[in-house]
Symmetry: C2
Subunit: 150 residues, 2 copies
């Protein structure tokens, strides 16, 4: 696969994560969405549900890890790429450590609660990381949401 093809594929799956973020937005949740992809197939999709579930752990990444591992019947996601519209928080990054995720792709960084503010080592050492794909779209969505809330 050429670099151009890889970027195109990442954009395609990130667009799927944005579909999930839009579902969160429609429920007045912080608009973050995620998908898990294995060998070119989306195997799980989820969005933030902290308000609906009254559960502070119900971030998009946690929901999608649980959905993926439960449906695959194993605890590990070494063959998987997780696409998420915003940089994971420390909880979600440390959850991805336990899942031994193969690759993480996030759109926008989170300057307040992103895991890289603590240490990139919250992830598993074997997890590859890419970011910035469709980042302006994610930033715009988050800013509009929090602006409306103020």
């Amino acid at each position: 696969m050429t670099i151009a093809e890889e970027i195109s594929r990442d954009e395609q799956f990130m667009a799927e994560a944005f579909k999930e973020a839009e579902k969160a937005l429609a429920r007045d949740e912080v608009p973050i969405g995620a998908v898990v992809v294995i060998r070119g197939q989306v195997v799980a999709r989820a969005h933030n549900l902290t308000e609906a579930l009254s559960d502070p752990t119900a971030h998009a990444e946690m929901q999608v890890i649980t959905a993926a591992t439960s449906s695959l019947g194993g605890k590990y996601l070494g063959d998987a790429t997780l696409y998420v519209t915003v940089e994971p928080c420390p909880m979600c990054a440390a959850a991805l450590y336990w899942a031994q995720l193969g690759r993480l792709v996030y759109a926008a960084g989170d300057p307040k609660r992103g895991y890289t503010l603590v240490t990139p080592n919250l992830l598993h050492p074997k997890t590859e990381v890419s970011y910035g794909i469709l980042a302006p779209r994610a930033s715009k969505m988050m800013k509009a949401f929090f602006h409306k809330k103020r």
Copy 2:
């Protein structure tokens, strides 16, 4: 409450967390248990279920946070004390940040994956922390479990 009374109360609730750890052990799960207490009442109890659920995020603390906040109908645990038999990992500590936990009490430290190895700041700044209550019992239980697995 005197200090002796407070220790006695902590031991009583930690014993409840150990009952949960025993349930995990009986299912051949890593034997860790947790309870959430509000104003002297256990409001939620849970144990590690990572194998049973094929879910790397199903730690005792995550299960008990979800159970407590869902049943209370709110995302925050500022009035609560969480008792857990082993020091939380970074994922669980960062989850307790989101819950804005009032007080954390753990028995044994975890020299491999305890959150304090990363930074104590993974917890919320307002969370009080106590540890060491019944620690030898927790250490012995963990060591016996992993020795058997080898």
